[in-house]
């Protein structure tokens, strides 16, 4: 029993559909701490006690955050990239990241106990803890040329934290009844906002190191992770192809994507952010279109129309679908975490369709990430959009389809003072 518990707690993701995890939770939540120890692993035990007595977290968490302005971040990587500017960036990252990570850990520690024992949430908590532990030494010890090593660590950090959001999403979905929705929303807002900042600093550092190492000056348009010549149309195409594959896998059909407007416009932005937003929006659009088309008995799902416009201040992207729209009751809640209309869709479907259940499962653990159903897509997309002063508007024509307007400001001089 103990061995299998070890295995499960270290790699819980593979057991998403395993039904014994919920029973473990219910049992352990009812027992006291002593009994809990017997069924948890040594690592957990060590962590739990250690965390309580560890004042490093508190020390760091209590330090103030030193925000970096966007212009500084850009300046770190402005060509010509010198060793000096790299060290400056590294210095900032070394001292700053542990503070921010510690704050995240602290935030987790203030969650209700029952929520903290949820395996998904616990996993993320441990992840942050371990990241903090691994990066903390770099903030006070310094050997020459260990910037490379540091950036390796950062890479590790970024990779391991890649799936934070879906995992957290699952966790909070399961904990719905233990916390008020507003508290969850507040926690998640802070969490995600901070995460964006942390990743920004980390990835910028990594990119700069790589640039300096390889001496690659051919790709002049990039300053770290900021692309000064980002072509949204191209990114849209990439994302919609990717999502279309996912959709084909799950539903057997996918709607065509038609692009128009200023398709050759470019602007300065961070590609990963835009990619994330677009993927989420396209997932919604394609799923809705295919499901609605099925409901209407159409042979071919109607196309999704994406229009790009280059204005003076911002780039606007409009995604127009014929996916049936969002009902008025749902509309007020689409931006809430863990709110999803996916479950409802399955209620309407013909129960005799045996593929429904399979498609549901596949959808939620699809290749490359869930297609839908976790209720995080829209609030997250909106937060990313707003991070650099953009906006996100959803217009629903119930019974027909939705239009989503994404407006992103150019990251330029006017944003120099924006603090990360």
């Amino acid at each position: 029993m103990n061995l299998s518990c070890t295995f499960r707690s270290l790699w819980p993701r593979y057991y998403i559909h395993h039904s014994s995890i919920p029973s473990l939770i219910t049992r352990s939540s009812k027992t006291n701490l002593f009994i809990k120890r017997t069924i948890t692993t040594k690592t957990n035990e060590k962590l739990a006690a250690h965390a309580f007595y560890d004042d490093k977290i508190i020390t760091y968490a209590n330090r103030p955050i030193r925000p970096v302005t966007l212009s500084q971040l850009v300046r770190f990587g402005q060509p010509p990239l010198t060793k000096a500017s790299l060290r400056e960036c590294a210095q900032y990252a070394r001292t700053e990241l542990p503070v921010r990570l510690a704050r995240r850990v602290r935030a987790f520690q203030t969650l209700p106990f029952i929520v903290g024992t949820n395996p998904y949430i616990k996993e993320i908590y441990k992840l942050y803890y371990e990241s903090f532990e691994s990066l903390e030494p770099f903030s006070h010890d310094r050997t020459p040329n260990d910037d490379i090593e540091y950036s390796e660590n950062l890479k590790d950090l970024v990779d391991r934290h890649a799936d934070n959001i879906p995992t957290l999403a699952r966790g909070f979905l399961e904990c719905k009844q233990y916390m008020h929705a507003q508290d969850v929303a507040a926690f998640l807002d802070d969490m995600i906002h901070a995460r964006i900042g942390i990743r920004l600093i980390a990835e910028q550092m990594i990119a700069l190191v790589r640039q300096e190492q390889t001496g690659d000056t051919t790709d002049n348009s990039y300053i770290g992770i900021i692309d000064t010549q980002l072509n949204p149309a191209q990114l849209v195409k990439q994302c919609s192809d990717f999502v279309a594959e996912l959709c084909e896998f799950n539903y057997g059909a996918s709607p065509e994507t038609i692009m128009d407007g200023h398709t050759d416009a470019t602007f300065t932005y961070i590609p990963v952010h835009l990619e994330y937003i677009l993927t989420e929006l396209l997932k919604n659009a394609q799923r809705a279109t295919v499901e609605f088309a099925k409901k209407r008995g159409l042979s071919q799902p109607p196309p999704i129309q994406i229009t790009i416009s280059h204005g003076q201040e911002d780039i606007s992207i409009r995604i127009r679908d014929q996916g049936g729209g969002v009902a008025e009751d749902d509309l007020n809640q689409v931006f809430e975490y863990s709110y999803t209309t996916v479950a409802k869709a399955s209620e309407d479907e013909d129960p005799s369709n045996i593929f429904t259940g399979i498609a549901e499962m596949a959808m939620q653990s699809g290749i490359g990430g869930p297609l839908a159903g976790l209720g995080f897509g829209l609030p997250l997309a909106r937060m990313y959009a707003r991070y650099f002063g953009g906006s996100f508007t959803l217009v629903s024509m119930n019974g027909y389809g939705c239009d989503v307007f994404l407006k992103l400001k150019h990251i330029d001089q006017s944003m120099a003072e924006l603090e990360i």
């Binding site: 606007s316 508007t393 959803l394 019974g399 027909y400």
Partner: protein
């Protein structure tokens, strides 16, 4: 009197169509309900020889007891005279739903008609009183403005005239009452241009960056104006129907219950609006050509942008099978409201498309304007998408405000028009006369009209590309009229409530001193009555940021 109404509705076989305006033929088999079109003559018009497109001569308000009793609305006499308002200001305005109007209209008898006349009279008096009180609450400086004063005197005159009308007891009394209603309706057309000019002049004086009180005032005025016209026109139409004994319920019913048409077809409305807009655009283009404003290189005539219409039928489910309804989208509504909205949105779209792309190579045609119509059980949606270059962010910020736009001279063109048109044909005529001149009120009026029966209108812009306008119209007729009652900003919490001593039922007011009109509105049958969205407009059901 009869001569005025006789022109209004003629029962014709379906194949014939009678043009009611000189340049546009009405596709509908019956003449549209406009008893005060430019082609009919009313005694009032003959007296004063005004027309809708003449140069601005000063039109005096209808002779009223205002002139007899006092010389000026600023006089002390008027201050005390205002007491007669109290009785009506205290009363709440009763908002009804479309269904209630229809039901009432269908079960008309002579006795009911007389009752209706009295009810209309009281409602009009109440609503007018509220608006007059609104005027009186305006800052003194604003009240001094001649345009504002003009409208104030007009309203006061109307109030007096209605008040002096004795209770209606017979059908003959009703006829006299209807006569008054018509003249009031005609007068009422003078209101909007004057108000717009007045507000714009007042707004130009510094009233603070974010001041919205004039906006709210204007919105209340316009909403109430629509509601009073609705009442009056409906009563006139019902009187006429009763006179001619038209059947509204049975086999031969043509679908009209007063000015409400129970079988509004989205496609018909859309095609009429499209036709008018296209005609108007072509006329403008022809005018420009004639005036030589076009460069010689664009001799190859570009036709105005096409308006592509896509109507998506509803889905009806019958058991497991999904069947698309073969019928059109049909619902009960006041057609003139919807026509107005569609006309405004489409003409804006066409106009901006033409402006934006006129400098381009003349051989390519304009990008089309796309109109999408869809419906579900509860609402009908219209979406107008154009490629007219979008709206500038500075303009977009103040799209719905009168105050913020006034300083830039946006309402300047109201000097050119005397009367506000009340039907789509009149509007089209006027548009042609004015040419390419833009009055600046189309969008806000459209939004007020859309929100009147619980719908909404939203505009989203993609700067550099184009604009999308969305209209949602509730189709069940269960939403009460949106009379726009909200907290009156001009009343301080500690203000003494006049009339408090008279009416004991005011006692509950003390808990909510801000709302002047409390008990403000008795809304009957109002499931889902729209609450204020916070900026003076209705809360949106279809848009979320």
């Amino acid at each position: 009197m009869r001569s005025l109404i006789h022109n209004l509705r003629r029962r014709r076989p379906l194949t014939q169509a009678t043009p009611i305006s000189t340049s546009h033929s009405n596709h509908r088999q019956f003449c549209h309900h406009r008893f005060l079109t430019t082609t009919t003559t009313s005694t009032y018009q003959q007296k004063n020889k005004t027309s809708s497109s003449s140069s601005p001569t000063n039109v005096e308000p209808r002779p009223s007891s205002l002139d007899h009793s006092i010389k000026s609305s600023h006089s002390p006499y008027h201050f005390y005279q205002t007491k007669i308002l109290e009785e009506y200001v205290q009363r709440p305005a009763n908002a009804s739903t479309l269904r209630q109007y229809i039901f009432f209209g269908r079960h008309m008898t002579s006795g009911r008609l007389v009752q209706a006349a009295n009810w209309v009279r009281h409602e009009l008096l109440t609503r007018l009183a509220h608006r007059i009180r609104d005027f009186q609450q305006l800052p003194f400086f604003v009240g001094l403005n001649p345009h504002i004063e003009f409208v104030y005197r007009l309203y006061w005159g109307a109030f007096e005239q209605l008040r002096k009308q004795p209770t209606i007891k017979t059908l003959n009394d009703n006829q006299a009452f209807c006569h008054i209603l018509e003249s009031l309706l005609d007068d009422g057309k003078l209101v909007v241009p004057r108000l717009a000019l007045g507000i714009s002049e007042c707004a130009q004086h510094d009233r603070g960056e974010d001041s919205q009180d004039l906006d709210r005032f204007m919105n209340r005025m316009l909403r109430s104006r629509i509601s009073r016209r609705m009442l009056a026109e409906q009563h006139l139409a019902l009187t006429e129907a009763h006179e001619h004994d038209w059947d509204m319920m049975g086999e031969g019913a043509d679908g009209y219950v007063g000015i409400i048409f129970v079988r509004c077809s989205a496609s018909d409305l859309v095609s009429q609006a499209t036709r008018l807009v296209r005609h108007h655009a072509e006329a403008i283009y022809a005018k420009k050509e004639a005036e030589g404003k076009l460069s010689s290189s664009s001799l190859s005539r570009k036709t105005p942008p096409a308006i592509e219409v896509q109507i998506h039928q509803e889905i009806q489910s019958q058991g497991l099978q999904q069947v698309e309804k073969s019928d059109e989208i049909v619902f009960a509504y006041v057609p003139e409201h919807l026509e107005y909205i569609l006309f405004e949105l489409l003409s804006n779209a066409v106009r901006f498309t033409m402006e934006r792309h006129s400098k381009n190579d003349s051989s390519s045609s304009y990008p089309p304007v796309k109109l999408t119509v869809s419906a579900n059980d509860t609402d009908v949606y219209f979406r107008v998408s154009d490629q007219g270059g979008g709206i500038d962010p500075d303009v977009y910020k103040h799209l719905w405000s009168y105050q913020a736009r006034a300083p830039t001279g946006q309402f300047h063109h109201f000097h050119h028009i005397q009367k506000m048109p009340s039907s789509i044909n009149e509007r089209a005529n006027q548009a042609e006369d004015l040419g390419n001149v833009h009055l600046g009120m189309g969008l806000t009026m459209s939004r007020i009209l859309a929100e009147y029966w619980g719908g909404e209108l939203q505009v989203m812009s993609m700067q550099g590309y184009g604009t999308d306008a969305y209209v949602r119209i509730p189709r069940l007729g269960t939403k009460a009229e949106n009379l726009g009652f909200e907290d009156h900003p001009a009343v301080a919490p500690t203000a003494v409530q006049p009339g408090h001593v008279h009416n004991n039922s005011q006692n509950q007011q003390q808990d909510q001193p801000l709302n002047w009109y409390h008990p403000s509105v008795i809304q009957r049958n109002t499931p889902g009555h729209r609450n204020d969205g916070g900026d003076g407009w209705s809360k949106s059901c279809m848009m979320l940021d």
